[in-house]
Every structure is written in C-alpha cells, then in structure tokens.
C-alpha cells in the first residue's frame, strides 16, 4: 500500500511536468528539452531557499519561476535568433547543468531536516485526524501523513489543470494554441508568433520547475541529475494520456496527461517491484515512446492497401 501511495504521489507531482510537456509538445508543437534542466533548476532553487529558511510556499514558487525564465530563454534563442528549436533547448539545458551546480553549491542538497512543503501536509493530517492513528483504507493501514500529501498533490494538480484550461480559453491562450497549430494563420491575424512561442515555453517550464521543486521536497533531496530523461518521461505520459482519452480536445487532453503520468508511474512501480533493474528504466521508457511515436503510422500503412499513384 505504501508503494502504491508513493507511486501515485510521484505520479501526481510529475503530472505537472507532463502537462508542461503537453503544452510545449502538443500546443506549441515544439520538442523542448529545456524541461530536463528546468526541472532540476526548480528543485535547486527551491532547495537552496528552503535551507536558507524561506517559507516553503515561496521557495516552491521561486523554483517554478526560475524554470519559466529558462523556458523563456529557450524561446528567445529560437524565435529572436532563429536557432533550431531542439538546439535552443539543448543549449539552455547544458548551460543549466552548471547553473544548477552554482545555485546549489554542490551536487545535491538534503531537505529532510528543513521545513518544506510536506510540513503543510503534516499540518493538514493532524487537523484531519488529531489522534494520529493510521487511516484504514480497504483493510490497509495508511499513514495519515502519506494520505495528506497525496491529497494535497491531487488538489494542486486539479487546481493547476483547471487554471490552465481556463487560461487556454482566453484570447491570449487561444492565440497561443493557434500559433502552434498554424503559425501562418496566426501571423495573418496579427499574432506575434515569436512572442507566443516564448510565453508558451515559459509556461511549460514553469510547470516543469514546479514539479522539480515539489519532487525534491517529497523525496527529501535535490540532485543535479534529477532532470535526466524527464522529457521522454513527460512524453510517455502525454502519449499514454492521449491513448486513454482518444482526443486532442483541450480539457480532456490535460486530464489525459495527468492520467498518463499516474498510470505510467504505476506501471514503473509494478515493473520495479517485479524485479526490473532500475538501470534499464530509461532504456525501456525511450523504447516505449519510440514505439508510441512510430506504431500509429505503421499500423495505418498496414491497414490501407497499397494503391497506385493517381494519374494527374
């Protein structure tokens, strides 16, 4: 049961990353590898501020804002200096590795003994069950602290998803979606597409930084390597989510990304439990995303019989 709760909590925290990847990959049509650096940056900034005694809520927000700055830099490199999108992301990600080391001063920071966001959940737990006895869920004992953290994470993800859904229905949000869908049309209707790309990437990396800040506090440490492979991780969640909801419609797609992240994390927990070598995890994740990217096209080719090219 603890394994399940842990998997779901991490799944929810990384759902923020998955929504961020959905925004850059599907809405802006931009494979943004900056998230690998911005996730760590969010964790590094939050951890450093927490150690300095900053209240967890401000430290977490600062981590998210730092992430959005990184995203904006990628956007500026891409749109104002016409650097290829993927390369802009790689440049920023690489630079962030050093930045993160500078921010933290070393390669990792422990957070178990400092006041952090999980303390809010503790407070919530003690208010819900003053006795401190474990909850009984379907015959399993669950520590109230774990349950409170899970519920808080769920609440946060619901609030963030709802706000994003509303945001993408505003004029600005719609202009951002049009820019990713058809930049030529967006420009012809007076949208500064470059600015839209910058804002979209800032938003996407804000979520990535937020996920990093929360993940560090949940697992009790920030590490300079923690962002590695996170883009593919997010992509896997987005793709699983799209398979689950079978639509690209905005509201359902965001829900799908959250569900995809949860399901993916559960699958990982089960696979590890069954004896999967953790070292193989990234290989399997990458193979999964590869399969999800190429399989639909291959299936379509198999299903439609070959026809001769029509005569002009």
């Amino acid at each position: 049961m603890n394994l399940l709760i842990g998997a779901l909590t991490i799944g929810l925290i990384l759902a923020l990353l998955a929504i961020g990847v959905y925004i850059s990959f599907r809405i802006a049509d931009f494979a943004d590898i900056t998230v690998e650096g911005s996730l760590t940056l969010g964790a590094a900034v939050a951890a450093t501020l927490l150690v300095a005694g900053v209240p967890p809520i401000w430290a977490t927000l600062a981590g998210a804002v730092a992430g959005s700055v990184a995203g904006a830099v990628t956007g500026i490199l891409h749109t104002r200096f016409s650097i290829h999108g993927l390369l802009s992301g790689i440049l920023v990600m690489t630079a962030l590795y050093s930045v993160n080391l500078r921010v933290m001063g070393r390669s990792n920071i422990a957070l178990l003994s400092v006041r952090n966001a999980t303390d809010y959940a503790d407070a919530l737990a003690s208010r819900l069950t003053p006795s401190g006895r474990p909850l009984n869920v379907m015959g399993w004992d669950v520590a109230t602290r774990d349950a409170a953290i899970l519920l808080s994470a769920l609440g946060l993800v619901v609030i963030v998803s709802g706000m994003l859904y509303l945001f993408f229905r505003t004029s600005l949000g719609t202009a951002m979606r049009c820019t990713g869908d058809n930049p030529q049309m967006a420009r012809a209707l007076g949208v500064d597409t470059g600015l839209m790309v910058i804002i979209t990437l800032a938003l996407s990396n804000f979520l990535s930084g937020l996920a990093g800040a929360l993940l560090a506090q949940y697992q009790g440490f920030a590490d300079v390597q923690m962002g590695l492979g996170m883009l593919v991780w997010g992509l896997a969640s987005v793709i699983i989510g799209e398979t689950l909801v079978r639509t690209r419609r905005l509201g359902l797609a965001i829900t799908g990304a959250v569900m995809g992240s949860l399901l993916f994390r559960l699958l990982v927990a089960i696979a590890l439990r069954l004896g999967l070598d953790p070292n193989d995890l990234k290989l399997i994740t990458a193979a999964f995303v590869l399969g999800a990217l190429i399989l639909p096209g291959m299936l379509a080719r198999i299903r439609t019989p070959k026809r001769e090219a029509p005569h002009a």
């Binding site: 719609t174 979606r177 420009r187 012809a188 007076g190 597409t193």
Partner: protein
Amino acid sequence: MLEITHLSKTFHAGTRNEVRPLQEVQLNVEAGSFVIVIGTNGSGKSTLLNAVAGTFLPDTGRISLAGHDITRWPEHRRARLIGRVFQNPFSGTAPGISIEENLAMATQRGTRRGLGWALPRSLCREFQERVGDLRMGLEGRLDTEIGSLSGGQRQALTLLMATWRRPELLLLDEHTAALDPRSADNVIRLTQRVVGRDNLTTLMVTHSMQQAVHLGDRLIMMHGGRIIHDVQGAEKRNLRANDLLARFDEVRRMEELDAGAAEMLRRAYI
C-alpha cells in the same frame, strides 16, 4: 490608399539560383479599388502580395498603406490593416481548433490579446448568423474542428475571417486555384459580395481568365517582376478573355525573341 514605390527584391543574390521577382515595381491603388493581378508563373504576382503582407522585407522601395509607412513593419503588425486569403485552403485556418475559436481569433485581428474570454456568449450568436449566411450548413456545428471541413468550406471561412473586421486592404492570392469548380464559384460569389458590401480595397491574384475579365475595376499584368500592363476604367470593363490571351501570347513571343537573341549572341561571341 496603397502606394508602392520602386519596390525591388532579389532572392538568393549572387548565386546561380538568383531570382528577381520584383524589379522597381510602382503601383498606386485608390481606396475602394478592386485590382486583379495576372501574369505567367514566376512573374512576381504572389511575391508582390507577400511583400505587401510583410512575409519578407523588400531590398529597396517603399510601401505605404492608409497613411502608414509599413515598409519595415513585421507581418503581424501589418495584419492590423490587412486581411488575407491564401492559395492553400489549409493556410488560413487553424485545423485543430474549433470553427468558433478560429472566428474568435479573426474578430481580434491586429488587436492586443489579453486574458478576456476568447469566446464571449454575445459573439456566438453573431457567428451563427454570419456563418449561416455562407449557406454551407456549418452554423449548427461551430464547435467542430476546422480540420474536418473541406477545402471549399475552409476557404469560405477564411474569407469571412479576413474581412470580419473591415481591413484597409484585402489580399487574395489565387484563393480559388486549389478548389473544385463549384467551391471556387461559391468563394468567388462570396468575394464579390463581401468586397462590394464593404467597398474593400482589394488586390486579387488569379490564373482564371474568366475571373480576370469579370471581376474588379482594374487589371494589372506582371511579367519578369514588372508591371507590364495596367488596364482600368472603360477599357477594363470592355476587356475580353481573348484580349488577355493575346497579351499573354505577346509576352511569350517577347520571351522567345529574347531567348533567340541570347542564343544568337552566344553563338556569335562564345
């Protein structure tokens, strides 16, 4: 209204692929004038429209529109003054977004977009009315993605979107060339209606001699990046398709003559 002076553009300058689609183009379009632009392939018609729309910046020359010098304005800023319909019916609409959200984008052409709702209720009724006017049966399903519509439907919507806010200048770049004859007829009728109703200043590129003869109150013919004919008034009204074909023949003969002369010179001197 629209003043183009000494407009020139060279692509791939200094390479073997150098092309000069615009050479010292001069054009002055009065307010409310509907100008047809014709010419052979590569004559510079579409490039002229793109130069006005701001897809690229010209090498030399000046473009002014409705009292603004827009020569150095970026494309999205010019959209405040200009409505556009492209040759490709897929270019003018965002496929993954609903019809009503596409229209909502158009209602704000060239304005600042903030955090207000993209789709206020009051707009939806107006959308239904004006989409209903198109008589394509789309008014009942404004929430479907535009990507599921046919090219003709999308082009009609693009035209509606380009003119939702009255533009100072409407640019139509062979906007019926990729459509089947019936859809093309529909879009042309809609074009006449919209341009006539709002008295829009319009530049329309076409390959159709029929459209060139029947539409517009002025016709310019381009060749080799220059305007070689400019017909207006009674002369435009009396213009027949055969006259235009004769002028195209003339251009071709001129080209053959040029090629022949070049060949002769080459043989004589090299």
